[in-house]
């Protein structure tokens, strides 16, 4: 495995960045008391110091604890929505791509129209309609409601190309029925591509959830990355010069997105070997 990573630097960088994140969270869990992520735990608006490595926010949260507790929450939203999105997407893609016919046109139509509509707008409308405040899990479901559109489209186009390949014809001739072909022939070949699509879906889901949270439509108590940025904006932290309040979440968001981004590039190369030659 290591030898392989040498030949695919993007994937290596991606995994490395996410590894840093995991280490940060693990070490963080040991060093701080997760309770400090709740308001009124520590004196407010302290600059970063030994006592508070990331400083503290206006509501008395220790930002280091908030990041250690909040980051997994945001990642969880991303992963739940991403995985849900890709699973539904893959099923629909195979149903459409493999069986074609009316089902295909309907699914393709919905996906295409869905993609032209700016996702965030629909998410905002849904988030606003939910009566009570959103919990982290509800947030994941809201984001997942649109997360399947892109995977459906991209995987369907892959299924169409695979469908014409020789070994699928051979499998069909040798009497394997639809699902068997899909599971034993097509999916194994699509795995790297599915991997890349999953990482992409997770990244898009995290982006959407942070977008919603920054607009104040997320779980107000949870110290997720998006909600921290909402409070940054609400308290005009920028103009008041509390720079540490937004540098920590933005640095972590950067780490998350860069990590996922390089992993996507790396996985793309596996799925599309021609790209590998000229990194």
């Amino acid at each position: 495995m290591l030898r392989y990573l040498k030949r695919n630097p993007s994937l290596a960088v991606g995994i490395f960045l996410l590894a840093i994140l995991v280490v940060f969270i693990a070490v963080g869990m040991l060093l701080t008391d997760p309770e400090d992520a709740r308001p009124l735990s520590v004196p407010a608006l302290r600059r970063p110091s030994w006592a508070f490595p990331f400083g503290t926010d206006r509501q008395g949260r220790d930002l280091f604890a908030a990041m250690v507790v909040g980051t997994p929450l945001t990642l969880r939203i991303g992963f739940i929505a991403g995985i849900l999105g890709v699973t539904i997407g893959t099923i629909l893609a195979f149903v459409a791509g493999f069986y074609r016919g009316a089902v295909d046109t309907i699914i393709r139509g919905i996906a295409d129209i869905g993609l032209t509509v700016p996702g965030l707008l629909i998410l905002i409308i849904i988030a606003v309609s939910v009566r009570g405040g959103l919990t982290v899990n509800q947030m994941a479901l809201v984001v997942a409601s649109l997360a399947w559109l892109n995977p459906t489209r991209t995987i369907r186009s892959q299924v169409l190309t695979l469908r014409e390949r020789g070994y699928v014809e051979v499998a069909r001739l040798s009497g394997m029925n639809g699902p068997e072909i899909i599971f034993f022939e097509m999916i194994p070949n699509l795995l790297p591509y599915l991997g890349a699509t999953l990482v992409n879906a997770v990244s898009a889901a995290i982006l959407a959830s942070i977008g919603l949270e920054v607009l104040g439509l997320g779980p107000l108590e949870a110290p997720t990355l998006g909600m921290t940025l909402y409070w940054v904006n609400f308290n005009a932290a920028i103009i008041n010069g509390w720079w540490w309040w937004w540098t920590a979440p933005i640095a972590i968001v950067l780490l998350v997105f860069l990590g996922l981004f390089f992993m996507t590039v790396g996985l793309d190369e596996i799925a599309n070997p021609r790209l590998r030659r000229s990194v």
Binding site: V117, P118, N233, I239, W246, F261
Partner: protein, 334 residues
Amino acid sequence: MRLLYIARRFAVFLLIVWLAASLNFFLPRLSGQDPVRTKLLAEAQLGGYVQAGIEDMVKEYNQKFGLDKPLWRQYLTYVGDTTRLDFNYSISNYPRTVRDLIAEALPWTIGLLGLTTLFSFAIGTFLGALLAWPGAPRWMRYVMPPLWALHAIPFFLLGLILMYLFAFQLRLLPIFGGYSPGAAPAFNISFVLDVIAHATLPALSIVLVATGGWALGMRGMMVTTMGEDYVTFAEAKGLKVSTIFLRYCVRNAILPQTTALALALGQILSGAVLVEVIFGYPGIGALLFQAIRENDHFLIQGIVFTVIVALGFTTFILDVLYPWLDPRISYQRS
């Protein structure tokens, strides 16, 4: 053959518009909130003094906005009005009509979004093409990694950082709004410069992020195209390097980029909503956010409908242009 192709694409466009209109009608009503009541109560509360007789006032307003009719009647009038581009009054901004509000906000978004998207698409594509080209200058190698890194950041986060650096610390650029308060819009130089100054940070936060994306996409496509047989034969034909680069490689590699552009428009607008909200930019994004916050049914319907139609129309134009770009396409469809 061509007309049939265009007709079919237009039918798809109309279908999208109709679907958008219907989806658009039901979504705001999904939330089960009564916008008129919210508006009146918010206004009464502004003065801290709760009006007696709120219930009766709500009935009056509902009547005026036609919200008291049964849902299906509302839908019929809605579809009728939409065909005439009349989206009724904006509840939260009464007495201004939704159409006027959109007409005021649309140019800002088109200006910001249109220019930044085209700009980043052009630069990104060119950079990506150059990067894949072995003959490209050395320094290209060093431009790409930062652009790639920037591509991973969401628009509005970069916006926050730029706002902190340029507007707050260095006080070079205005921090907020579409133009400085008090400046009356006119076609003189000072106002235009003022608008440009205000648009710089939002535009930068979009361009810096999007360019990396287009560059990466194009690089991938160029690598694939350069491996094609017709490029090798072009070289064998002794064509100039520039001819091979532009008319053989870029000309073919740009085809999937344009499809990607059509698909990306929707997502770019999503990002722009946040940029507009954070920078207080008076575009469609900020207007929609305010409409949703105040649950203004008609304004939400008007904006989402306009956005979908605009996007649908752009996709339609790209669809019609595509065969002109790639002759193979029209051939297959007929």
